[in-house]
């Protein structure tokens, strides 16, 4: 067991974990932050995407010990309680989700995308979320949702 200290959604979390514990399992099993999902075991699907020190990362590809000392933001910590992040709002307004399983990872990737490029073109959006798989939507409403977020983002998304 290895001691780790990770700031998750603004709160310092200390724990002892097996070195092989994946970050996603630390978040889900130890912290009960089950909004971050596991959709594959080869780092292809992006359902587990979180922000580590402000950059998107697939949390199934990191061991929890690798995130020691980092700041992690999950979908649960994206907006202050009672509010929605512009990307979350965009997904709601534009029907950017159906079953919702890929959605938290998709939203975190979109947050990262808009941070880098606040006014992306449609093809830049499609490229930007190409690391996240969705089986329900055909992506069209997701693209529209991110466009909506870009239009309404002000400072919040940057």
């Amino acid at each position: 067991m290895v001691p780790i200290a990770i700031t998750v959604n603004g709160k310092l979390r200390k724990a002892h974990v097996e070195p092989r514990t994946l970050l996603v399992h630390f978040l889900r099993e130890h912290l009960n932050l089950t909004g971050t999902h596991v959709g594959c075991d080869t780092s292809q699907c992006g359902a587990c995407t979180v922000l580590v020190d402000g950059r998107s990362a697939k949390s199934c590809t990191l061991f929890a010990v690798q995130a020691d000392g980092s700041e992690v933001t999950t979908v649960e910590g994206l907006a202050p309680e009672g509010q929605l992040h512009p990307v979350q709002q965009g997904f709601w307004e534009e029907h950017g989700l159906q079953c919702g399983y890929c959605t938290p990872g998709m939203i975190m990737s979109a947050v990262n995308l808009l941070k880098d490029n606040p006014a992306p073109s449609e093809s830049q959006i499609r490229e930007g979320i190409a690391g996240n798989l969705c089986r329900c939507t055909g992506y069209q409403h997701i693209v529209t949702a991110i466009q909506h977020a870009a239009r309404h983002s002000g400072k919040a998304a940057r």
Partner: protein, 792 residues
């Protein structure tokens, strides 16, 4: 009535934002893997890594010794507490043990399992089990398997035939007692042109983003089993879990919590569900199993995989005289719940949208050493559409006719509905020319043709494809489903006037919480926010069948509409008593219940509700309370239809196809929420295009799935699609009072053939008349270069 209150908008037909989303976009949905129960243990399977063989030994000693391992079971151990799994179709079926006993028949079949305190430990322990096999020859080609060589997979099925040659169509007696081929023979004798083509509608992996998962909790003190599962149909699960555990249905509660997509692959009741339940019961512990994606690729049913030998007889003017369709379905190693029935839907829909005088279909289903197939979005109907539409396209090309015109010439006409097909279906309603014309207009077909011709003049390989479809949806009368074909709804007006309704259709992304609330809000004229739809829990939802076959709106929506009507009538009776008016004069308007022509008398909806629960005085002959239910069984299926058009370019240098345009006109009858309908169509299109262009389950000759992860199986990404252009025609169905036909699968129907036809069109200068899917760049490159079409 109050004039100051805002007028409630009518919601049916409106693009209402989804009720489900606020929890899902904040990561607050609860899927099976998010659940924890005190004392819960984790179950992991050891799966075989060969496709066919005899188990010679299983050594579980190392696993059993690991600290934290609760129990280890082999197939033989499980067979003592669990009978072979039942199926839901009337075809003969070999015994199928949930965990293999003696013989394994596909790579990935479970052979043993462990129960441990932790998920990582469970996986370690499963890996520590050592199994040895005597390999047997594997057979992966269904046409080879039909010869019974090189192996027989199930001893009582000598030529690996799960279903041997079932005929259907013109001249076949309903009980198969006689077959009269004369009409079909005459059609082909009279033909001026015959199109003959073998086509492969290849195997796909459904790949819902949430893998399957189960949590079974036997509570010995209560003698009850609660089972949470990522399923499309908790009520069927409840029935099956009860039967296989020797329990009454009153002892089982099945819960489908948030379900992360299904696409047909979560209809089947799986080995893992049965195993978790019997192990939980035996150990007295809550047992959880969650599928890895690698497991999902082999352990969750696959879809499609039908070979069609198609012959189309026609006159030179394009009129189709007859159709022969010989189908060979590769169903994999076992029959699952609905496996054998899926290809029968391909036969049923062989008529397509055409008035074809004579049709002969035959169906053979074959066992191979592969993962079993079952429903996958469209389930048999995309295969039919693909075969018929590709054949129609080949006919148009042969006759140098416009693909739209050859279809128009053969369409069933609006005045022919209800239309009894040669295949025994009765199409409810349709106006195919209207949808075709809408698609030609929406796509600017003439403009596209000019664009294509211009591109060709520049040396580019650009093609156009057009396909029409009709599918059988809104399943269906009980005669068509072994589970029963009805759906159940219950509507309760709470004491405070809020409405709680339950539906037996358990959604997994379809948005039923929203669309059904729209309907009920309109029916009672109350705010949308005052209506709550509950689903997915057999402890709350009294009865139900489930969500599949595009049936939610048409069947479950109607059940709720009927239940709502009963409650509304009773509420009107209470209102009549309270307001001293005639029941016939009671109106529900804008959150109030009032009397026609006497607006001052109106009372808030909640006041009538409160009165119904404390009825002083109780109106004569009435019971207190406001709650009622309805079972709705449609007297027929629904038959939505549409037209999909695509433009595709193939890179001369690399053979890589790129989809430039996809235009879809879909007619699903009346729509409750067009926003949600669009989402359903987009998703279906993506899966249909995926099949045509990039998705394929590939096995090698040893029966190993080569495309067993997202690194090798091309699940479409956002960059694979252009923006789809959708529009609709509306032809209501007479089958239900809502006029809704269902739309969940439509997108997969027309898109696949229209894209393959576009690829054929793009390569037509090389003499190509058909290309089997998927459109692998290498395949296209070879066609181009073998005909000297490369620039070198």
């Amino acid at each position: 009535m109050s004039t100051s209150a805002p007028v409630l908008p009518k919601l049916i037909g409106e693009r209402v934002k989804r009720r489900e989303d606020p929890r899902l976009i904040r990561g607050l949905g609860t899927y099976v893997d998010d659940l924890k129960v005190t004392g819960m243990r984790h179950l992991a399977f050891k799966r075989c890594d060969i496709a066919h063989g005899t188990i010679t030994s299983i050594d579980t000693s190392a696993a059993a010794k690991m600290t934290g391992v609760e129990a280890v079971y082999t197939g033989a151990d499980i067979a003592k507490i669990l009978a072979p799994m039942p199926i839901g179709t009337p075809f003969p079926s070999p015994p199928h043990h949930a965990v293999a006993v003696d013989v394994v028949r596909y790579a990935g079949e479970p052979v043993a399992l462990v129960v441990a305190s932790d998920r990582y430990l469970a996986r370690d322990a499963a890996d520590a089990i050592v199994v040895t096999y005597d390999p047997l020859p594997a057979v992966v080609d269904p046409e080879a398997a039909m010869t019974g060589q090189p192996t027989v997979i199930h001893k009582d099925f000598p030529h690996n035939l799960a279903v041997a040659l079932v005929p259907s169509g013109t001249g076949v007696a309903p009980d198969y007692s006689s077959i009269d081929n004369s009409a079909v023979d005459k059609a082909f004798a009279d033909a001026e042109v015959v199109i003959s083509q073998r086509m492969v509608n290849h195997r796909l992996v459904p790949n819902a983003m949430e893998p399957r998962g189960v949590l079974a909790h036997w509570e010995p003190g209560k003698d009850t089993m609660t089972i949470w599962s990522s399923t499309q149909n908790p009520h069927i699960l409840k029935t099956m879990i009860a039967a296989m555990n020797g329990l009454g249905q009153h002892q089982v509660r099945a819960i489908a919590p948030e379900v992360g997509g299904g696409f047909g692959a979560k209809i089947n009741i799986y080995a893992e569900e049965y195993v978790c339940s019997v192990v939980s019961k035996q150990l007295g512990l809550p047992i959880k199993w969650v599928e890895d994606r690698s497991e999902a690729f082999v352990a969750t049913t696959h879809g499609r995989d039908i070979i069609g030998y198609i012959d189309l007889a026609a006159r030179k003017d394009g009129k189709v005289l007859g159709l022969k369709m010989r189908l060979i379905a590769d169903i994999g190693a076992y029959n699952m719940l609905l496996t054998a029935a899926i290809p029968t839907l391909t036969m049923l829909m062989a008529n397509g949208t055409y008035d074809i005088p004579a049709i002969r279909t035959t169906l053979t289903e074959v066992f191979t050493n592969k993962t079993p197939t079952d429903a996958y979005r469209g389930a048999g109907r995309p295969e039919a559409t693909y075969f018929v539409e590709r054949a129609m396209d080949m006919l148009a090309r042969e006759l140098k006719m416009d693909p739209a015109e050859v279809r128009r010439k053969n369409f069933i006409k609006p005045n022919q509905f209800p239309y009894q097909t040669q295949m025994g279906a009765v199409y409810d309603s349709g106006d195919y020319e209207k949808a075709l014309d809408a698609a030609l207009t929406a796509s600017n077909w003439k403009g596209l043709v000019a664009e294509r011709d211009q591109a060709r003049a520049e040396g580019r390989l650009v093609g156009l494809g057009l396909a029409f479809y009709v599918e059988v949806c809104g399943l269906g009368p009980s005669s068509s489903l072994p589970t029963g074909g009805w759906e159940h709804g219950q509507v309760t007006i709470e004491r405070d006037g809020r409405i709680t309704a339950t539906t037996g259709a358990s959604p997994h992304g379809q948005g039923n919480e929203t669309t059904f609330a729209q309907m009920l809000a309109d029916q009672f004229s109350v705010p949308f926010e005052h209506v709550t739809i509950l689903h997915g829990d057999t402890g709350i939802v009294k009865q139900g069948i489930g969500t599949f076959g595009s049936r939610s709106q048409a069947v479950a929506g109607t059940a709720l509409h009927l239940a709502g009507g009963k409650v509304r009538k009773k509420m009107a009776q209470f209102a009549a008593a309270m307001l001293e008016a005639s029941e016939d004069d009671i109106v529900f308007e804008n959150g109030m219940v009032g009397v026609k022509g006497a607006p001052a008398k109106a009372k808030p909806f909640a006041a009538i509700a409160a009165y119904a629960y404390v009825p002083v005085p109780l109106p004569p002959g009435m019971e207190p309370g406001l709650s009622d239910e309805a079972f709705f069984e449609p007297n027929n299926n629904t038959y939505p239809f549409g037209c999909h058009i695509s433009m595709l370019e193939i890179d001369r240098e690399t053979g890589e196809p790129k989809l430039l345009k996809l235009i879809a006109v879909d007619d699903a009858g009346h729509l409750i929420n067009p926003l949600i309908v669009e989402g359903q169509i987009h998703g279906g299109l993506a899966q249909g295009i995926g099949q045509a262009m990039i998705e394929e389950a590939v096995y090698n000759e040893d029966g190993q799935l080569l495309t067993g992860s997202f690194m090798d199986y091309a699940l479409p990404r956002a960059t694979d699609f252009p923006r789809f252009e959708l529009s609709a025609t509306v032809t209501p169905t007479p089958v239900n009072p809502l006029g809704a036909k269902g739309v969940g699968e439509a997108g997969t129907l027309g898109s696949t053939p229209c894209i393959v036809s576009a690829a054929v069109d793009a390569l037509s200068q090389f003499g190509v008349t058909h290309i089997d899917m998927m459109l692998r760049p290498e395949k296209l490159w070879r066609i181009i270069h073998n005909h000297g079409g490369g620039r070198s």
